[in-house]
């Protein structure tokens, strides 16, 4: 067969497995719901300046005449204490949450995975012991605590928050990849690759890593929700997004002071947080179902 034919065959296999994967994913209506919500949120966040009624409210804006209004046709979610449209700020707030999730995961997954691969492959050596001990230490402390401690040491803002959370996120991935690698380490296909002289790099990247792909992807999407939770919690405590920027957790914190009379200031951002986390969770569940091997 010519190279073109081989390539076409490979691509159509890819397409076939993609559509089979999609078929399995779409079995569960909840997964579709999650994906829909997530897409809507992402689109809303990306096009925030264009679709929100008062984009200038997402920042230092004051309009005391219109402050503290309950939800009405002009301001869908009402206005806050200085007259800003809550709806607009919520949409802009999604930007921070999504950026947080993307940055943290991009920063923490690659090192975590690499460490896990190395530790798992070089079992029984000092490298493994060293890496896993470090991982254990980071895992010994609940996530929020460490992030809290670190953020506090530096000045509280979104950037530092992202750094802090990334720092304590990678151990989870290294542990996940470590356990998969150790279980695969002695499988035949790895031994064969070793015997036929494949370089360690090849083995790690081409043989073991693909087997980790599915759990990593699933965990990633569930983690996105969790990272946002941590971020919102930190912001709620005043350590994340600082006013006047519209972080969702920050808004809930401000709104909480106004309960119960001006409930909309806290309730809508709170619901928004739940929505995005829920969406990520549903998508994560769907991915897990998709990757699960079907048994008849």
């Amino acid at each position: 067969m010519s190279r073109i034919e081989l390539l076409a065959a490979a691509l159509s296999r890819k397409r076939a497995s993609f559509s089979k994967g999609w078929y399995k994913y779409s079995r569960n209506p909840l997964s579709i719901l999650g994906l829909t919500i997530l897409c809507l949120i992402i689109l809303a966040a990306v096009f925030a300046p264009y679709i929100t009624p008062y984009p200038e409210h997402a920042g230092a804006f004051t309009n005391f005449r219109e402050s503290s209004q309950p939800p009405n046709p002009t301001y869908f979610f009402g206005t806050d204490t200085v007259g800003r449209d809550v709806f607009t700020r919520v949409i802009f707030g999604y930007r921070f949450s999504l950026v947080l999730a993307v940055v943290v995961l991009s920063l923490s997954i690659p090192p975590g995975v690499i460490m896990g691969l190395i530790a798992g492959y070089f079992q029984g050596t000092r490298i493994e012991i060293a890496i896993m001990r470090i991982t254990d230490i980071f895992l010994a402390v609940p996530p929020l605590v460490l992030a809290l401690a670190i953020t506090v040491m530096l000045s509280p803002n979104l950037f530092n928050q992202m750094m802090a959370i990334s720092l304590m996120w990678w151990p989870w991935y290294s542990r996940l990849v470590y356990s998969i690698t150790t279980s695969l380490r002695h499988e035949y296909f790895v031994r064969e690759a070793e015997l036929t002289g494949a370089s360690k790099l090849h083995i790690l990247l081409r043989e073991i890593l693909p087997n980790c792909a599915a759990p990593i992807l699933t965990k990633m999407s569930l983690d996105a929700g969790f990272v946002i939770t941590v971020g919102a919690s930190l912001s709620f405590l005043g350590l994340g997004v600082q006013p006047p920027k519209p972080g969702l957790g920050t808004m809930v914190a401000d709104g909480a002071k106004r309960l119960p009379a001006e409930w909309w200031m806290a309730v809508f951002p709170a619901i928004a947080i739940v929505m995005v986390i829920l969406a990520f969770n549903l998508v994560g569940d769907g991915l897990r179902d998709m990757f699960a091997v079907e048994e008849v």
Partner: protein
């Protein structure tokens, strides 16, 4: 079994040691002179220098660590610059409050979570199952402070059922402090009105904390039970005539509990962190709120102590979980 425990204890000590090193390193390496921060911007240069010497900040890093370790082992965690009290006093004051909260919430989540999970797992795809899955999804998706706020809104402000803040209402006299657990103390002292009040105050925060756990546990138990229902030994039992009642509550529950208990270690960690948020919302005078406050105020000694306490608590819980699991599951025991 004993050997196993000792092994784990040693492991934990090593980990804690590493943790203390890490925290200490971070604390000392961060920008800013802690002494200056402690004294405030109005302090004079001499005062700062004096304090710097006192805090051994001028010595090289390993020496600092050594001094610090020495005082820790003596039980002296230093003084909190924020509260101006020895850190140990602060800890003694605040830990019981949080402990009470966490224990109560664990109780709630265990009972409700297990029952919900077992019923949902057995009656798969019924309306009950659907409802419990809905609760699970929301419980997992909503951060604790969101849950806390909603509960506060609904039960306190709308329904007017529970009080808003604190462990006891204003003006109430707390019972004599035997255990520092107000509920226990008031029971022991016969002050049932205080017990009732304390219970009313603790319900909402504990429930807020518990929801995430209920969601998690319910899900795990449900999956565990419905998976185990498919197992051959269940079919075998049915065929051999063992009544279903016995099958579920005796033979299924134990293997199904195993994943739940394993997760409890993690769950405890989440409880600790979520306790921060709930305590802030409900103004509960607990350890977590203290932790947040000292962190926000860059109170070095307190921060280090707080992180250490959490690390210790976490390690202990993990060891307990491991022991319970190995008790429940002979496979783990026998493979060691």
């Amino acid at each position: 079994m004993g050997k196993y425990i000792i092994q784990r204890l040693l492991q934990s000590i090593v980990v804690l040691f590493g943790l203390s090193l890490l925290i200490f390193f971070i604390a000392r390496v961060m920008p800013g002179n802690p002494a200056r921060v402690a004294l405030g911007s109005l302090a004079t240069k001499e005062q700062v220098e004096k304090l710097t010497k006192e805090m051994h900040l001028d010595k090289p890093f390993p020496v600092q660590y050594y001094f610090w370790l020495k005082s820790i082992l003596r039980g002296d965690l230093g003084k909190s610059w924020y509260t101006r009290r020895p850190v140990t006093t602060d800890l003694k004051a605040y830990i019981p409050a949080t402990l009470e909260l966490i224990l109560f919430s664990f109780l709630i989540s265990l009972v409700i979570g297990q029952v919900m999970g077992v019923l949902a797992g057995y009656f798969r795809n019924s309306w009950f199952d659907g409802l419990s899955r809905l609760i699970s999804y929301i419980g997992v998706a909503a951060p604790a402070f969101v849950v806390a706020i909603f509960f506060l809104l609904t039960f306190t402000y709308i329904l007017n059922l529970t009080p808003a803040v604190g462990r006891l209402s204003l003006g109430a006299t707390p019972p004599p402090q035997l255990t520092s657990f107000i509920i226990l103390d008031s029971l022991l002292a016969g002050r049932f009105d205080i017990t009732l009040q304390a219970l009313k105050h603790i319900v909402l925060p504990a429930a807020s904390l518990a929801l995430a756990n209920i969601a998690q546990e319910g899900r795990i138990t449900r999956t565990s039970i419905s998976e185990n229902l498919q197992k051959d030994y269940v079919t075998a039992h049915i065929v051999y005539g063992i009544p279903t009642r016995s099958t579920i509550f005796k033979y299924l529950l134990r293997p199904s509990l195993i994943p739940t208990v394993s997760v409890m270690g993690l769950a405890f960690a989440y409880q600790l962190t979520n306790a921060f948020l709930v305590e802030v919302v409900f103004m509960w005078p607990g350890f977590s709120r203290y932790a947040v406050t000292v962190m926000l105020n860059k109170d070095l000694n307190a921060i280090v102590a707080v992180v250490l306490v959490i690390g210790i608590a976490f390690s202990i819980v993990n060891i307990i979980v491991d022991i319970v699991v190995s008790f429940l599951d002979p496979r783990v025991r026998l493979q060691k």
